[in-house]
């Protein structure tokens, strides 16, 4: 039973990585888009791309937290106790990211847009780094079970955590760039298609290098997970590499719809691979899933909620993405045109 709920948790984490992660990655490209003039067009693609969907994608994080604290409450408590610092930074980063993005869309003065944009973009890099570092801390066994806190600093400032953080940032950037190739295409902007296609290829290479380097880091620093990745999770690792290479080939040949799916596959298999590699532990190697699991009735509640979600939330999400991809979700038209006029007059 605890395995079923662990699988649900992994589904949530994967969905958050694929969708929420890409929204953070969009922030990375926002950060690196250059000055107000030069970055105007890519930033408009970014705003257009994540505007309607980021809040729904963000809920996957809440989903993961809730499943974790309901089904594996002791593990949740241990993680939160040891990783107080990176998680506090992440929480505040999420506040900056979400609110600054919402504000930036609504203000018209360039200086305000720049300030909110900077807050949005910087926090979009910090949050995935912290999340990756947290994953690294867990994977490398630095979160002890049993109500005792691990080291508040070295638990997340260590080789595996830094690997996790850097990998998270690059993977998010990679996904975002791949998605935005299509968003730019939908907008009919050939320059931006090329702009993000180049970035998608570069970030794919960087993510690949980081992942390769990661093998050596894990070998020395996270033995249990390393052994898992090279044994039972090996098929997923290979699949991830194949997907990554495949998507790059398609991107280099200037694109095919499949590149996006393959990119998603590459990332999803990495996340799932991590989960499989540390099985049956939720905190390697001090707490097993079964030991952390809540009583059966609680686990059943989580499963039932998940089944309801599959019937209610997934179609709703599907509707959102469908409308979004069909370009039926435009920026709300209250007094459109005004912003442009204002700019012109200024």
């Amino acid at each position: 039973m605890s395995d079923v709920v662990a699988l649900i948790l992994m589904v949530g984490i994967t969905a958050y990585a694929l969708f929420g992660g890409a929204d953070f990655g969009a922030g990375f490209w926002d950060l690196t888009a250059g000055g107000a003039e030069r970055g105007r067009t890519p930033r408009s693609v970014i705003t257009h791309s994540i505007g309607p969907v980021w809040e729904a994608n963000h809920v996957w994080l809440i989903f993961c937290l809730v499943v974790l604290w309901t089904a594996f409450s002791e593990a949740f408590a241990s993680i939160m106790l040891t990783l107080f610092v990176p998680l506090s930074i992440a929480a505040l980063g999420i506040v900056f990211r979400g609110s600054a993005f919402a504000f930036r869309k609504e203000v018209t003065r360039t200086s305000s847009q720049r300030n909110f944009g900077a807050a949005f973009a910087t926090s979009s890099v910090i949050v995935p780094f912290c999340m990756g570092a947290v994953a690294g801390a867990i994977a490398s066994g630095r979160v002890p079970a049993g109500g005792k806190a691990g080291d508040p600093w070295s638990s997340w400032i260590n080789p595996t955590s830094i690997l996790g953080g850097v990998l998270a940032v690059t993977v998010c950037a990679y996904l975002a760039a791949v998605y935005m190739v299509w968003d730019a295409r939908r907008l009919g902007d050939a320059d931006m298609v090329e702009y993000f296609r180049r970035r998608a290829v570069v970030s794919a290479v960087v993510a690949g290098i980081v992942a390769l380097a990661g093998i050596f880091v894990l070998h020395g620093d996270a033995t249990y997970v390393f052994h898992g990745l090279t044994s039972r999770a090996l098929p997923l690792v290979i699949l991830s590499a194949l997907c990554g290479i495949g998507s790059m080939v398609l991107l280099l040949r200037s694109g095919h719809r499949g590149a996006r799916l393959l990119a998603m596959g590459a990332v999803a298999t990495v996340v799932l691979g991590w989960g499989v590699a540390q099985y049956p532990y939720i905190l390697p190697t001090s707490m097993k899933l079964s030991a952390a699991a809540a009583p059966d009735a609680t686990l059943w509640s989580v499963v039932i909620v998940f089944v309801i979600a599959a019937f209610v939330i997934l179609p709703s999400l599907g509707l959102l993405y469908y409308l979004d991809q069909r370009d039926l979700l435009a920026a709300p038209a209250v007094e459109p045109g005004l912003d442009g006029e204002r700019e012109a007059r200024a």
Binding site: S44, E55, F84, L92, S99, P295, A297
Partner: protein, 480 residues
């Protein structure tokens, strides 16, 4: 590094964790009514716009949904902070009781998902979805708001009235009955109380903006409708809340006697207990100051028994299982504020209805508009006060009779740092939200003025917003 910082960080985390949780909740709870009730208010305007081809109502619905996009974003992220804080500040509570306490949140998660999805569809769907399908995409927002409120408050009610779990000898939760956890004894009334509160605060808050506009001379149809829709929602919710609140108070009297003793500030068990307005407890736990209305607390607690109703005093509970004297002062004051302001807002609603009954129109006097303009902030104060009553009144427990707050807190001594960081960030956030909303409003108002000039003066027919949309630049170029 740890040792170098050790002396700076070695501060007892409990008061800081308390302060941080209280502050972030107090912040989030202001956004809740907007998330829960504003969608409903907007849909009324939207409905009217389509049914009666009402351009003013349409403009209001569109603008409200745009404001909502901002407040919902801030509500979503400040809500996320709360999720983190459960673990960051109260890991021992979550580690032990997450198995039970978490269940209502799993259900809340579903509603939050629905709300986020359909809010996005609704907000972004104005331009390219057909009017009625677009309207219907707003309905799940309302349902999710109601469901989400009920689920979250169910979790809070569970802390007041824990049920549906069995502890083994080591204090670990070994058996859970999810149904009893969700439908704990405090849940029905407490959820209803908060839900109605969300509608009346949301209504009063939105209406207050238009009351201000009218006071500044903008007494046009647009402002009148902008006032009437939300104010009517609040004014209908208000009498319902008086009934629910009254029932709730009696429920607390019967089920949470310690909290009730703190609410009524009753030091010693007795009959014929006076209702004391304001006042406080001295060092010896005696009531000082305030205005005592003889026998009223007893009468209200059980009207059938009247003044002979016995109310348990604070002295009938062990000192370490009831709020401290200063906490009792806070609970009692918050209670007076809630009931006082609630009654005031109730009278305001009666005034509004009386005017409709006798004059067939809303009250037009400046006095009414001034009070209505203040009602937004006053209703928020009422809401915060009510929340203080239930939370501080439960002290020292986090899970009543099972776990104390001090036993739930994190061992991280750096909480004072995160508290200060959160305080600064949230104050900045609050100021920014208000500035951004005001800027949006000003921009639209200037746009309206220009549109009127374009159409040959203020008395000409107003163009429908759809025409604006059709003439507009493509949104792609518009987005900064």
């Amino acid at each position: 590094m740890a040792s170098a910082l050790g002396w700076v960080l070695a501060v007892n985390p409990v008061p800081w964790a308390r302060a941080q949780m209280a502050f972030t909740l107090a912040f989030h709870i202001v956004l809740v009514p907007l998330g829960v009730a504003w969608g409903f208010i907007t849909l009324i305007a939207n409905w009217r716009a389509i049914k009666k081809n009402d351009a003013d109502a349409l403009r209001l619905a569109q603008r409200w949904s745009k404001y909502m996009a901002v407040t919902f974003a801030v509500g979503a992220v400040s809500g996320t902070v709360l999720s983190f804080e459960f673990g960051l500040l109260w890991p021992r509570f979550m580690g032990r009781f997450g198995d039970a306490f978490g269940i209502p949140f799993a259900i809340e998660g579903l509603f939050f998902f629905l709300e986020a999805i359909f809010l996005a569809v609704y907000i972004y769907g104005w331009k390219r979805l057909k009017p009625w399908p677009h309207f219907w995409t707003g309905v799940p927002i309302v349902i999710a708001g109601i469901g989400g409120t009920v689920s979250v408050v169910a979790a809070n009610a569970w802390m007041n009235e824990p049920a549906g779990f069995t502890l083994n000898s080591a204090g670990k939760v070994v058996d859970v009955d999810p149904w009893d956890v969700i439908f704990n004894k405090a849940m029905p009334l407490q959820s209803l109380h908060m839900l109605v509160a969300a509608y009346l605060v949301g209504g009063f808050l939105v209406a207050s903006v238009y009351a201000f506009g009218m006071l500044r001379g903008r007494r046009d149809r647009y402002h009148r409708i902008g006032f009437l829709i939300p104010f009517t929602v609040a004014a209908i919710a208000m009498p319902i809340q008086m009934l629910v609140g009254d029932e709730m108070a009696r429920w607390v009297f019967n089920n949470e006697p310690v909290k009730f003793a703190a609410i009524e500030m009753v030091p010693k068990t007795s009959t014929d207990v006076p209702e004391t307005l304001f006042g406080h407890l001295d060092d010896k736990g005696q009531v000082v100051g305030g205005i005592a209305i003889p026998g009223l607390a007893s009468i209200l607690s059980d009207p059938a028994e009247g003044t002979s109703t016995q109310i348990q005093g604070l002295d009938s509970f062990p000192r370490d299982e009831r709020p401290t004297n200063s906490q009792v002062d806070v609970v009692h004051l918050a209670w007076d504020v809630m009931v006082g302001l609630g009654t005031f807002l109730f009278l305001l609603s009666l005034w509004y209805f009386a005017s409709w009954v006798f004059k067939r129109r809303m009250p037009k006097s400046k006095l009414f508009l001034w009070i209505a303009a203040a009602a937004g902030v006053l209703s928020v104060v009422t809401l915060e006060a009510g929340w203080v009553v239930t939370e501080v009144g439960r002290q020292p427990w986090i899970v009543r009779n099972y776990m104390k707050v001090e036993d739930a807190a994190t061992a991280n001594t750096g909480v004072w740092i995160t508290f200060i960081a959160v305080l600064l960030v949230y104050v900045g956030l609050a100021v920014t939200v208000i500035l951004v909303l005001r800027q949006m409003s000003r921009r639209w108002r200037e746009g309206d003025a220009e549109a009127e000039v374009d159409d040959g003066g203020p008395y000409g027919p107003r163009p429908a917003p759809e025409e604006h949309a059709a003439n507009a630049d493509d949104d792609r170029e518009l987005v900064p």
